[in-house]
Symmetry: C2
Subunit: 394 residues, 2 copies
């Protein structure tokens, strides 16, 4: 196609940039260099699997943002970003994985050219795509600038979703329903796990009607039995066995927007302790959704769930959710607020979380989760329509 197919209106991008600039002003920053691929896409619409080389967005206090990356990805930037071509910059391939040169030398030259040699520049110190080396080189190249840690500055602006974004997440939820239903329908004793995962990918990427499926930021997690006590194991070619629970941690994705959804399938007759945990978990999720109201805090959701668990005599530690939306590998969380006892983020309408009160016990794991939208009033809305229970197949 020869014209751009932008995911959002210009008004939406303008709103995002204005919001980000307000946060920059508050932090006393002249400029930010954004390396998080999700933040890059959120600001500019850049979309490509090129984050494995150095790239990012330069955003000053006026004018359009500038996307900067490898020369061959500049071409992709021209295809996908909303800005005009003169705001999309490429560096030569001799910088790529060179031991003599570093792409940050090229970036520093652009920053100097744009008057940021002595500026206060925000960088995302805690990001997969801003390496320790990148920071060291950029610091050396800009001796008169002040590099300030602006980790999550843009991420926090993403916390409340616009109507356009919520529409995308709702579409992703349609795909999530389909992939979870596929997993439940297909699971049976003797089926190789990789064959099941193949069907999960197929269901997710074909999508639902004109809602075409994008790649998830996390590979399908589908561990069974004792492997399900560990949270992040991926599949192998072993057949599914009787008398084991398998949890499915999956997400449909529409144009990089996620709506994670987890359910657990038991092949056989579940043990009593798993049934009791199921009961507690589902009652706890109801309590959590009811506490997930505008004006309450993230910790209130966690407390509501934990209180129910305590009543049932079940111990659980750790985080039980995080905001989601636009994402690139390796994580679909937004890495700002957390649903946990110590987090006091105030809930506002338009926030979307993966509420994830999974139970990983000594010999099995039970995941039943929801992508939830904080509404104007009343409890949070689960965006996927899927029965909330342990699915049992005899």
């Amino acid at each position: 196609m020869s014209t751009k197919d932008l995911p959002f209106s210009q008004g939406e991008f303008d709103r995002r940039i204005a919001k980000t600039r307000a946060a920059m002003a508050e932090a006393g920053l002249d400029c930010i260099f954004v390396t998080d691929p999700s933040n890059q896409a959120w600001l500019t619409a850049y979309d490509g699997w090129s984050f494995y080389v150095h790239q990012g967005v330069i955003l000053g206090l006026d004018g359009p943002p500038v996307w900067w990356g490898r020369y061959m990805d500049m071409i992709g930037g021209r295809r996908t970003c909303w800005m005009s071509d003169d705001h999309i910059l490429g560096y030569g391939d001799h910088y790529v994985q060179s031991i003599e040169r570093h792409p940050m030398q090229d970036l520093a030259a652009h920053l100097r050219d744009r008057g940021f040699a002595k500026a206060r520049i925000g960088v995302e110190m805690e990001n997969y795509y801003y390496s320790a080396k990148a920071h060291a080189v950029l610091s050396d190249e800009l001796p008169d600038a002040t590099l300030v840690d602006a980790t999550a500055l843009v991420n926090w602006q993403r916390l409340i979703k616009s109507d356009e974004e919520i529409a995308f997440i709702r579409k992703a939820a349609r795909i999530s329903e389909k992939v979870i239903q596929t997993a439940i329908d297909r699971a049976e004793v003797g089926l190789r796990k990789n064959d099941l995962v193949a069907d999960i990918y197929h269901a997710g990427i074909t999508g639902v009607d004109d809602i075409w499926g994008d790649y998830p930021a996390i590979a399908p997690l589908t561990p069974s039995g004792i492997d399900a006590t560990a949270a992040h194991l991926t599949w192998n070619g072993d057949p599914m066995r009787p008398n084991e629970a398998t949890f499915f941690e999956l997400s449909g994705v529409y144009r990089r927007y996620h709506a994670p959804l987890c359910r657990t399938v038991y092949l056989g007759t579940p043990p009593d302790d798993m049934r009791r945990a199921e009961e507690a978990q589902i009652e706890g999720i109801d309590a959590g959704l009811n506490a997930a109201r505008a004006g309450n805090r993230t910790c209130d959701i966690a407390r509501a769930f934990m209180d129910v668990l305590a009543k049932h005599g079940i111990k659980r530690e750790g985080r039980m959710g995080y905001p989601i939306g636009l994402s690139y590998p390796p994580d679909w969380g937004e890495r700002t607020a957390s649903i946990r006892l110590e987090d006091t983020t105030v809930l506002e309408p338009g926030m979307v979380f993966h509420f994830m009160p999974a139970l990983w016990m000594d010999s099995w794991g039970l995941e039943t989760t929801e992508t939830i939208l904080i509404t104007e009033d009343g409890p949070a809305q689960a965006l996927a329509d899927m029965p909330r229970k342990l699915f049992v197949k005899d």
Copy 2:
């Protein structure tokens, strides 16, 4: 399953560690902290989609390595690593994405406990999973230690593959043949690209016979027409159009080992300039394979290809290949040697490269690539069996 299913023999892990320690000794290091997930898996067999939180391997000059990560992933470490449980450490969930605490504080305590408080410790400064912030915190926590840049120290040890590894890559190549054949067979005018990608994923993950498919470190790249002039665009829901070339940059994966393979499909009658480029590219690949002999250098492969291109009057810049094998997202390259004019790595038997002399032109892209094994004598061996040509479907 209750017993460990290790991918390799203990002798293989011992060999890897001895080789790594020799490089550490040469660099004057007492210890390395390894964050690259591929390096972690290569040393310990750790396997899980958990690299989005801080984790790594501590390797001193004696004793088994220690895997360190989030508490819930410690469970996964016990399921997958070859070491005994006392060499697998977990930190509490309150360190995860906290703004008050950082996991590197926990790591530093372990390093001090193990006598590395004043040691020379190698860290991977240029790695996706060693952030600028991680380095700053670790430096602060270990004021008497010397943190030395050991980027790619382990990666370089991976360059020559063992027979066990080559057997895995050959299995991956069987899957690569299947996924490329699927793409070629399915491509047709009107087919939505996401539906094609769904079939590609399905083919790759079902695998071939008992060679079950693992997830690729890079999502399928399948751009068409003008989008194929940009190297790293992913799919959308648009139908395939007549008179466009689509390149397929794909890899089968067996237990994290890759064998990338690319082919291009044209729907219609290709223009003359594409046909001329095809001829040059194929002749150039032959020349490259012939130059890819033990004792020659990486630049000799690049030069052989470029000479053929020059003869045909085609200009091309940039890298045309890299070593491959074990990999995790976001990249399947090993990030050491490159097939390019300025790289002088001497080729040795057992090295495996993705030889990738793609042609990205002004209005189309043409990718025909091979995973190649450097042999004892003679030209390199292409590990996948797939005709080397532009596939034309009228």
